[in-house]
């Protein structure tokens, strides 16, 4: 298990008195030509820009460095720096690959966007076995929620290679075919990671039944909740934005499409008002770009409109980000699905069938990134490298402000 120490511990070398900066008392070089002893804020500034792998190694430097690197304060600061990086150096794509066998692969988002050829790498994920089906069902703060054979659920940090198996969600699942939908996100109010599972199947009495359960990492248990009575989500996985999970669904006589949300803090369902658009051919699909909720509205064989909710909770802030035409040279013209990221120059990375495509609206140009060690994939998501631990700290950090961003 992971080592934790008091987050307030000092970084200072034991042989030197602590100094502070920004006051006139603080810094000076102790002797000419030598390296000054850095105040903690500068050490944190430097360490927060290092990759996770380096940090795991540098825990060995001294007790004070280990204590800083393990502190929740630092883990949050490091995550914030990684997330803000416009070069996406710490962002990675995670994909469920089908050939030659079911597995998860990862690839640098930066190289996918900016290099001619990207290289995918295999993962060592829990219960990895060619006979097991695997799906990444959600990413949040560097943690990935994966489902093996549709019933064994794990929370996993691919960057620290730590994982936690969740207790079985429903004893009935072992007995028959079940349809399962998931959502994974962070409940900032309770400083807790939660998984929502929607389990549908035939129960022992032969009746088709749906049970909705929510798992709390802090409690390490599932609890049944009474939601979605007015209609189940259509999408398989919920999109995490602003402390809530989001799915599309169809309800009512005219099968109206709507966006339903589940607040991980209050555990209450709600709806998100949609942009003033015209629906295309099939159901719109949801996505997340730069921490904002998106709706993809497809006009078959013509184009896709990408709408973005710039400010959560404000209907006026829906904005048509870009219209992505279908490549005329491509005979398939199948629908674009998950939007994965928007680059610094406005280019947008989308999942297109079983490949990736980058569309640059400025030049109206398409680019299909080449990836070695990679083949047909089922789905893809983006996660950001983090040190986030799967062992909740003893004292939850209560907070009411909502600014958690996805990825």
């Amino acid at each position: 298990m992971e080592t934790r120490e008091n987050s307030e511990s000092s970084i200072y070398d034991h042989n030197h008195p602590p100094r502070t900066t920004k006051t006139r008392r603080g810094i000076h070089t102790p002797e000419a030509g030598s390296i000054p002893i850095f105040p903690e804020e500068i050490i944190v500034e430097i360490l927060s820009r290092l990759p996770v792998r380096c940090l795991l190694k540098f825990r060995c430097v001294s007790k004070s460095w280990r204590s800083v690197i393990s502190s929740n304060h630092f883990i949050r600061a490091h995550l914030a720096v990684s997330r803000k990086d416009t070069n996406f150096a710490r962002h990675r794509i995670i994909s469920t690959v089908l050939l030659p066998c079911y597995s998860l692969k990862q690839c640098s988002l930066n190289s996918l966007l900016s290099e001619p050829v990207a290289d995918a790498a295999d993962f060592d994920y829990p219960m990895k076995n060619p006979n097991n089906s695997v799906r990444a069902v959600g990413c949040c703060n560097g943690l990935v929620c994966i489902a093996i054979n549709g019933k064994h659920i794990f929370l996993w940090n691919p960057s620290t290679r730590k994982h936690k198996k969740l207790p079985d969600a429903d004893e009935r699942m072992t007995r028959g075919l079940f349809i399962t939908k998931y959502g994974f996100g962070f409940d900032e109010c309770n400083d807790d990671y939660k998984v929502l599972g929607i389990f549908s199947g035939f129960c022992t009495a032969g009746r088709y039944e749906t049970r909705v359960k929510v798992y709390s990492l802090r409690a390490n248990s599932w609890k049944r909740i009474d939601v979605f009575k007015d209609g189940l989500p259509f999408d398989d996985t919920g999109k995490f934005v602003s402390g809530k999970l989001h799915w599309g669904r169809r309800v009512g006589f005219n099968s109206r499409w709507e966006i339903v949300s589940f607040d991980l803090g209050s555990e209450v369902c709600g709806k998100v008002e949609q942009p003033g658009y015209i629906e295309g051919g099939f159901s719109p699909s949801l996505g997340v770009l730069g921490g904002c909720l998106c709706v993809l509205c497809d006009f078959p064989k013509t184009s896709v409109d990408v709408w973005i909710l710039r400010e959560y909770g404000k209907r006026d802030s829906w904005d048509k980000l870009v219209t992505v035409p279908y490549d005329l040279g491509d005979p398939w013209k199948g629908p674009y699905s998950t939007p994965l990221c928007r680059g610094a120059k406005g280019e947008i990375l989308l999942v297109y069938g079983s490949s990736f495509i980058v569309y640059d609206p400025k030049d109206n140009a398409f680019h299909r990134p080449k990836i070695t060690n990679f083949d047909t994939f089922l789905e893809a998501d983006v996660y950001v490298e983090s040190l986030v631990s799967l062992v909740p700290d003893a004292a939850p950090r209560f907070k009411t402000r909502r600014n958690t961003r996805h990825q």
């Binding site: 900066t21 380096c54 190694k57």
Partner: protein
């Protein structure tokens, strides 16, 4: 001591901006060196700006936490960034050259000064420079460079290494 201005090589220079802008003030380093700088350049440091607004306007601003060599470097940076007509591209090129010649100990001094004087752009660039040099380095290199003595016993260190043994794969040798 007469006010003077030095470039990092210790040569006295009179920056162009200073000739154009008559309003100047004097910064005094920890080792008593005095440097003349235009108010517009000095104002790029949030800390100096606050001191100017407080009570030091027109006078000498003592910076007891920054030595003369480091202050000369910081002033070179501030002058370039306050230069009339310097494009963002010019500044970016200047920053690149300015920092690329510095050894890690000098970078550390400039980082401390940048943080103390609250010059965010300089501080962030210098930190990034230090980080770039650290990425694939060994624990021993970090200890040597930052003058940190390990306070772990050999057993403790072995235990910590074991927890993430894979993180040690492909690390540079101790020499940089």
């Amino acid at each position: 001591m007469a006010p003077k201005n030095k470039n990092p090589n210790g040569e006295n220079v009179v920056p162009e901006v200073q000739q154009k802008k008559t309003q100047a003030l004097i910064l005094k380093s920890s080792d008593g060196e005095e440097f003349s700088i235009s108010k517009s350049a000095a104002g790029l440091s949030v800390a100096i700006k606050n001191m100017m607004e407080d009570d030091c306007a027109g006078g000498v601003i003592p910076l007891p936490l920054v030595d003369g060599g480091t202050l000369a470097r910081v002033i070179t940076y501030l002058n370039k960034h306050a230069e009339d007509g310097a494009s963002d591209e010019d500044k970016r090129k200047f920053d690149e050259e300015f920092l690329s010649g510095m050894e890690v100990d000098v970078l550390c001094d400039v980082a401390l000064a940048g943080n103390y004087l609250d010059i965010r752009g300089l501080f962030h660039d210098v930190c990034q420079r230090i980080v770039n040099g650290m990425k694939n380095k060994s624990v021993e290199w970090v200890r040597k460079t930052f003058r940190i003595e390990s306070d772990f016993t050999a057993e403790e260190e072995e235990q910590i290494k074991k927890e993430y043994a894979w993180a040690w794969e492909g690390v540079d040798s101790d020499a940089d």
